[in-house]
Symmetry: none
Subunit: 413 residues, 2 copies
C-alpha cells in the first residue's frame, strides 16, 4: 500500500462573520475533499499540541513523525536545505534578506524593494567566500525567491546560539549580532556573522549590478540581514531508515522543502507550480500520480491557502481551497484506492481574521483500502471533529499511515 499525502498550508480556519459564521473550508465547494471524507475516516489533529500554533517548519516535522521539541533547532537549516544548499550537522544556517542600507548601515528597505533583478547573480558573488580572520570557515550563500536567501556556515566551533542582525523594521541600523550563551562557539559565530555582514556590504555595495540599479533609480540590494540561526538535528533519520518507505515531495516553498529533504524526501520539480494561489494544481496532481509508481509515499504541499490567510483574504482562501479540491479530484480519478491511500489535512490553522497561525486543530481525512469508514461526509474543521479518528496529535499521524501501508512493526509479540 502506498500513500499520497496532500497538505493545504494553513487551510484550517475559524468561523467568519462575512461567511455566515462558516469557515472557508465550510464555505468552499469541495466535492473531492468531501469524497475523501465520505469514503474514508476523519478526525481532527493538533499538529504540535492543543492550543499551540505551529510554524510551517515545526508542524511539518510533527506531521512527518518527528517531535519538533526533540528535532527542531531553528529555521535556518530548513530554509537552506530547501534552497538547495548542503547542510551538515555541525553547520550553522540562516535565512537572510537582501536589504537596502545607506553608508551608515541604516536600513532603508529591509527587503530591497522585494522584487530584485539579478538577485541570483548578486548572491553568487557572496557564495564560497573565505574570511581572513576565520580561514577555516566556508560560506555558502544562495538566493531563493524575491528578497530571500539562505546562508550556511561550514567549519569547526560554530554555534546556533546567536542573535539576528535583522531588526525586522526599516529606519533602524543593522543590529550587531551577539552570542546568546557563554560558550566560545557562540562568541566566535557572532564574530563570523558580524564580519560577514561587513564583507557582504562591501561586495554588494560596489557590485556592478547595483551600480546599474542606482542608475535606474531602483533599490540597491547592498546588504544582507541574517536571522533564524539554526542547526540540523543529528538525530533525524530518514523516513526510509525509520519505516522503510521511499518518499518524494511536490511543492515549491523553500522552508517546507527543507523539512522534506531533512527527512529524506526526493524533491520532484513541477515547472507549473508557483507557490501562490494561482499555482497549477493539475500539474502537481499529474506529477503525484506519476510519482506514486516509483515512491511509497508522495507528499504534495500547496502553499496558496496560507498566503491568502496571511493576507486576510477569505475569498482568495476559498479559491485556493477549491484548487486543492481540484487537485484531490484528479488524484481520486487516477489513483487505485486498493493501491494507495489518499490523505488530506493542513499543517496548521491560519484564521484569515488573525492573519497568523493559530493553535486550533486541523481536519484530517484518510481514504483507501483497509481504512475504517465513519459516517462523516464533509471535509471541514467541525465535521471531521466528529469522525472516527477522534482527536490525534501530529506526531501520531505517520505511525497511523505507516501501519495502514502495511509497513509498521509489531511492538512485543
Amino acid at each position: 500500500m502506498k500513500a499520497i499525502f496532500v497538505v493545504g498550508d494553513g487551510m484550517a480556519d475559524r468561523p467568519i462573520r462575512e461567511l455566515a459564521m462558516k469557515t472557508p473550508l465550510q464555505a468552499a465547494n469541495t466535492p473531492s475533499l468531501d469524497k475523501v471524507a465520505r469514503n474514508g475516516i476523519c478526525g481532527i489533529m493538533d499538529p504540535i499540541s492543543p492550543g499551540v500554533p505551529g510554524g510551517s517548519d515545526t508542524a511539518h516535522l510533527a506531521l512527518f513523525g518527528y517531535d519538533p521539541y526533540k528535532y527542531y533547532f531553528g529555521r535556518g537549516p530548513f530554509e537552506a536545505l530547501g534552497a538547495g544548499l548542503d547542510v551538515a550537522h555541525n553547520d550553522v544556517a540562516f535565512r537572510c534578506n537582501f536589504a537596502t542600507v545607506n553608508e551608515d548601515m541604516l536600513i532603508l528597505d529591509r527587503r530591497a524593494g522585494r522584487k530584485i533583478e539579478s538577485a541570483d547573480n548578486l548572491a553568487e558573488a557572496l557564495n564560497c567566500l573565505k574570511l581572513n580572520s576565520f580561514p577555516d570557515i566556508l560560506v555558502n550563500f544562495k538566493h531563493t525567491t524575491e528578497h530571500r536567501c539562505a546562508l550556511v556556515l561550514k567549519g569547526p566551533g560554530l554555534s546556533r546560539m546567536i542573535s539576528d542582525s535583522d531588526p525586522n523594521q526599516n529606519d533602524t541600523h543593522i543590529l550587531p549580532i551577539v552570542p546568546l550563551d557563554d560558550t566560545i562557539e557562540a562568541a566566535r559565530t557572532a564574530n563570523v556573522a558580524n564580519e560577514l555582514t561587513s564583507i557582504f556590504y562591501k561586495i554588494l555595495d560596489g557590485h556592478p549590478l547595483n551600480e546599474i540599479k542606482r542608475h535606474k533609480g531602483a533599490h540597491v540590494a547592498n546588504a544582507i540581514l541574517l536571522r533564524g540561526a539554526g542547526t540540523l538535528s543529528k538525530e533525524i533519520k530518514t523516513l526510509n531508515e525509520r519505516y522503510g518507505i521511499s518518499a518524494a515531495v511536490i511543492g515549491v516553498n523553500a522552508l517546507v522543502l527543507g523539512v522534506c529533504k531533512a527527512v529524506g524526501m526526493q524533491h520532484l520539480k513541477v515547472d507549473e507550480a508557483t507557490g501562490t494561489v494561482e499555482t497549477d494544481v493539475k500539474a502537481k496532481a499529474k506529477k503525484a500520480i506519476e510519482a506514486i509508481d516509483r515512491f511509497d509515499f508522495v507528499y504534495v504541499h500547496v502553499k496558496g491557502s496560507d498566503n491568502a490567510s496571511h493576507d486576510g483574504d477569505f475569498d482568495q482562501k476559498i479559491l485556493s481551497i477549491e484548487k486543492i479540491d481540484d487537485l484531490v479530484g484528479h488524484l481520486i480519478d487516477n489513483i487505485d484506492s486498493r493501491e494507495s491511500l489518499i490523505i488530506v489535512t493542513a499543517d496548521h490553522s491560519t484564521p484569515v481574521k488573525l492573519r497568523e497561525h493559530s493553535g486550533d486543530p486541523v481536519p484530517l481525512a484518510i481514504t483507501g483500502e483497509g481504512v475504517r469508514t465513519d459516517n462523516i461526509s464533509r471535509f471541514s474543521e467541525i465535521d471531521c471533529s466528529l469522525g472516527g479518528l477522534g482527536r490525534i496529535r501530529g506526531i501520531d499521524l505517520i505511525p497511523i499511515l505507516v501501519d495502514l501501508m502495511g509497513k509498521s512493526k509489531k511492538y512485543g509479540s
Copy 2:
C-alpha cells in the same frame, strides 16, 4: 479577547438510579449551561489523565496549565497560601486541625467539635512562635474555617518528607512525626514538628479561652494535628509570566484559592459568597462582570456542587448545579461575546454514590468570538463527549484558551 472561566467543583457525576439513570447535570434544569454548549464548542476533559481522580489541588494546577506531576509537592502550601499566609519556596507548610486530647495525648475529637469558638484567637497564640531548640525556625499559624488551620515553617534545612501526626481517627494517640527519607533535613523537620506539637499543646491546654470552654462543658481545642506537609515548587511561574495574562479569582475555598494565588491570581472577595450550596451566585457573577474590565482572565469557583457530592445528596447537587446555571446566565446576559470567552467545566467528577472524587472525565464548553461551533446543545457528561473538542487533558485547556484569547506564541516559524 478575555475569558471568564467557571468551574463547578466536582460537578460531573455518573448515572444515578434514583434519577432514572441520569447524572445530576442531566437531571438539572440548566438553560444557561446549555446555551454555552449550543453557542460554542464542547468536549470532555481528563483533568489529570484518564481514570485518575484528581484532588482539587492537583486538578486546579492542571486546569491552569501546570502539570501536577511536575509542580505539586503536597497540599500544605496551597492551604497556607489560601489562608493568607506567605509561603516561600523553601518553607514547609501543613494543613492542620484543632483537636481535643487528654493528658496522655489520646485524641478525643480530632476536630475539637468542628465549630470552635474564638478559634482565631487560639490560633493567634500559636503564631510567630520561636522554638528554643530551633532558634532559626519561624512558625506562622493561621485559622481558616471551623477546625481547620494552616501552618508554615520558615528557616533553613527544612524538608517536606515527613509523616502526619494526624491519625485520621479518634481514640488513638497523636502520631509521632517521622522522617520519610534519610536526609538530615527530614529528620530535623520531624523534630521541629514534634517539638511544635508539644508546645502547641502546652500553650493551648493552658489558654484562658480553653478554660472558658472547660467551664461551659464545650470541647477544648487543646492540640494541633498536622498533615499534608508540602513545599511550593520553585518552578511555578505566574500566568502573567507564562502567557502575559492578568488573572483574578472569585471563590472562598482556601485550597483552591491557594492554587490560584500560586499561579499569580488576585483574589477578589465577594462578601455574599459562602463556599456552600447556599452561596450567592449572583453576587459572584456581578463581581466577575466588574472584574473582566480590569483582568484578562477571571476564574470563578463554586464549591457547593462538590460538598453536596461528598454528602451523597443528589438533590442538593442538582440545586447547586442550577445555581451555577444562574451564575452563567448572568454572565451570558452581561458579557459581550466579542470581547470575552465564557468557559464552563468541573475540576473533577465527584459521583454522589461514591461520595468521593472519581477518574471520569468532565464536560467542557467554550463560547465566544472565533470559537468553532459544533452541534451540541446540552451541557452534560455524555452530550459534551460528542462535541468538537473531542477528549482533551486538563493541561491542554489553558493553551487552548490562551490561543483563543490571541495570546499564544507561535512555535517555530
